[in-house]
């Protein structure tokens, strides 16, 4: 299962719900305002680090660049481009967008 989150973790609870309900071994791709969650020093950083024990965490590079956050990404988070986004979608049987 690929989970896709696009809302800021400090504005909505989409990420929190996703991490709570994602099963072990799933991939979580953060896009748009959700990418702030994988940056150092933020309130969601601890949640992301804990989640990496069971989940693969990805973030979309162009969205990090656009927000000036590329240099702040937490260790262990895999940054992908649009091609990588497509690969993640095609590699999995089901996608869930946490709108």
């Amino acid at each position: 299962m690929l989970h896709i989150v696009n809302k800021s973790a400090t504005e909505r609870n989409s990420l929190e719900s996703c991490l709570r309900m994602a099963s072990k071994g799933s991939a979580v791709l953060l896009i748009e305002d959700a990418v702030y969650a994988v940056t150092q020093g933020g309130v969601a950083a601890a949640q992301i680090q804990a989640a990496m024990a069971d989940l693969q965490i990805y973030a979309l590079g162009p969205d990090l660049d656009a927000r000036g956050m590329s240099a702040r990404v937490l260790d262990g988070v895999k940054v992908v481009d649009y091609g990588g986004f497509v690969d993640l979608v095609t590699e999995t049987n089901v996608c869930q967008s946490w709108l």
Binding site: T10, D33, T39, G41, D63, A66, M69, A71
Partner: protein
């Protein structure tokens, strides 16, 4: 009504304290850009304008944005032009910066950092508060 006409014609109208409160991250929604455009419009009316950045709004001021990959306008540089419009009162809430691991050095413009109580006092002084 006649007072209002005098104000408009004489250009010496009543000056009110306007506060624009920005609480949204840029790019993901249109609020940040729209809020900035309204502030620029307000500059034409010679009002006493303050801008506040709190919650995800502090992300609007981050240095080093490159929006090429998502094909949207990078309006962050416009914040640097605000002093050219006599909009020089920019305030950031400290708790919002702290929660995001950010400091003044990460911001594209000079701001005044206020604690939450100071922010409350500043809001209480305003005649008009507009929120984005």
């Amino acid at each position: 009504m006649s007072d209002m006409m005098d104000d408009m014609e004489g250009g010496e109208g009543v000056v009110k304290k306007f506060m624009f409160v920005n609480r949204k991250a840029p790019h993901g929604t249109i609020y940040a850009l729209e809020g900035l455009e309204v502030v620029l419009v307000s500059a034409a009316f010679d009002q006493d304008v303050s801008m506040v950045f709190a919650d995800d709004g502090v992300y609007e001021l981050i240095k080093g944005m490159n929006t090429k990959g998502i094909e949207v306008k990078d309006f962050s540089k416009t914040y640097r032009a605000l002093d050219g419009y006599d909009i020089e009162k920019l305030y950031v809430e400290k708790a919002s910066m702290d929660a995001r691991g950010l400091s003044e050095a990460d911001l594209i413009v000079d701001v005044t950092v206020l604690d939450s109580a100071e922010m409350a006092n500043l809001m209480a002084e305003q005649d008009v508060v507009i929120s984005y």
